[in-house]
Amino acid sequence: MPENTEKKENKIQLACRRASLGYEGRVVAEELSFEVHEGDYLCIIGENGSGKSTLVKAILGLKPQLSGEIEWLGGVSPSQIGYLPQQTVVQRDFPASVREIVRSGCVSKSGLRPFYSLAEKDLAEQNMALLGITDLAKRCYRDLSGGQQQRVLLARALCAAQKMLLLDEPVTGLDPKAQLDLYELIRELNKKGITIIMVSHDVAAAVRYSSHILHIGSRRQLFFGTSQEYRESEVGRSFLAAEGTYGYPGDEQTGGEDNG
């Protein structure tokens, strides 16, 4: 159930106004407009190739938008987001202990200082405790289960930032039980006041857990609003009804001419 829908007075942290995204001159999504308030749980959904990952890069400030505005407010900046990227091949057999990885979340805080300070090491221990992985601290990352690995990366993300988490397909590759655990964990973090932005293709879970939905179709924004509104909207209803299949009514017509 959406928890924060009525707290409209919360501070805006991120405002995206008519942003067009793309790379090397190719537009992948245009006219994106949405706002993220403190304590929101925003789910970004859309099928593959709809520009979700490009939007993530734009939010992080790694790839500037082609036009429009992406504005950070309320003392939050791209480098203060806790980011949980999709797993890479390199990490699957990386020899690193859990503690080493969680501490590396402080890498930006430490600046040019060669070693982590006591406060930063403390922060890492606190976040490991928060995510229930303290007893794994000395274990090797590659020996952990998928769910445990995601907890480690979440703890690292929390070391980088306490205000906002940006999660890119966090449950991909996990078994159903681990998926449920991770969703519950993220909900707990959100209840503690951490703003969550999650990219997902699991629409059912998105509607169940998040407070807001941003739905990107092919190249354009189909919906932005609360999860409640999404469930009642035409787009949401058709998508939820056709769940599990790609392509749905309303998408085909938007392919060619949607430059507003």
């Binding site: 790694l62 590396s104 930006s108 060669p114 274990r139």
Partner: protein, 315 residues
């Protein structure tokens, strides 16, 4: 390049007649030099090896070593050209270059190639592996061509062989080479200690590190420059064909057993230094080529570690 051939009989008689390593250390400064430089190079290359192997960049080290071979050939050709001009000024310059050409010309060329190669490695649109293969075999071919066209000594195949496999060049170092090597090695080691946490973060997850506001590009550039410096240094020890062995074997051996980044780094450094010491001593005692002996020791340790890891995993 010096004259490796001249030292060969000397080394053999030394090992035979003195029979004792201790005497060799006391009486022959070049043995001490070889030991100091060899151990420093082994330490640097093993530290570098861990992030390179983990980032799947081992092949870049291999490609760069071939670039360094081509660069040495260019260095020889420049020396040759200056000599043939004949004026006293050019002769003097030629002398300076032939003493230090392994660094004055080779280092800048290798550094630039390293930066270009790491760039293409990141850009998935360009086929990174094809670019590396192209540059590395290209440098080998052009290097050999130049060496034959502008020979610095009458023994071309000897020159080529010692450039490729190092042979005895580690035993012909002068004090100035030792100082230069030590300074460069010290710089590499200090950089690794100061930026250890950043190197870990960038190696483990470049996207995350970049997103949290760290200039990951600068650290990739640093890795490229360090790789080039280590390769130019290691050229003296093992020759350009065997450099990648020096870089990847200790790291791979350490990864067989150890499961945290720090323990892998430390173990890799220890393995590499021990193997280098062992290899240099054996090569002096039995007049074997230094580079191949060190690499053989590295291979032996790798097999041993693989065995240990297989046994412990079974239990």
């Amino acid at each position: 390049m010096g004259t490796p051939e001249m030292n060969r009989p000397e080394v053999r008689t030394m090992a035979d007649s003195l029979g004792s390593l201790r005497d060799a250390f006391i009486n022959y400064p070049f043995v001490r030099y070889a030991m100091i430089v060899g151990l420093l190079i082994a330490l640097c290359s093993s530290l570098l090896g861990v992030p390179l192997v983990l980032k799947r960049f081992s092949f870049i080290g291999d490609g760069l070593s071939h670039v360094a071979f081509g660069a040495i050939a260019v260095g020889s050709a420049v020396t040759f050209a200056l000599r043939s001009i004949g004026s006293s000024g050019a002769d003097g310059l030629a002398e300076v270059l032939s003493v230090n050409h392994s660094t004055a010309i080779v280092l800048p060329i290798t550094v630039i190639s390293a930066i270009l190669l790491l760039r293409t490695g990141q850009n998935t649109k360009i086929k990174g592996d094809a670019a590396v293969a192209m540059i590395s075999v290209g440098s080998l071919a052009v290097g050999y061509l130049i060496m034959n066209r502008f020979p610095t000594s009458s023994n071309i195949s000897g020159d080529v062989c010692s450039t490729l496999f190092g042979s005895y060049s580690i035993l012909t170092l002068k004090l100035s080479d030792v100082i230069l090597c030590s300074v460069m090695a010290a710089a590499v080691i200090v950089t690794f200690i100061l930026f250890y946490n950043k190197i870990f973060a960038v190696t483990f997850d470049e996207t995350f590190t970049r997103a949290s506001g760290v200039n990951a590009g600068a650290y990739n550039l640093m890795t490229a420059v360090i790789t080039a410096v280590v390769i130019v240094l290691a050229m003296n020890l093992v020759g350009s064909l065997l450099i990648s062995a020096l870089i990847i074997f200790p790291a791979l051996s350490a990864m067989r057993i150890f499961r945290s980044f720090r323990s892998v780094m430390i173990c890799s450094a220890v393995i590499s230094v021990i193997c280098a010491a062992f290899g240099i001593i054996l090569s002096i005692l039995y007049s074997t080529p230094t580079g191949s002996t060190i690499v053989a020791a590295d291979i032996a340790v790798f097999l041993l570690m693989s065995l240990v890891s297989a046994v412990t995993r079974r239990n």
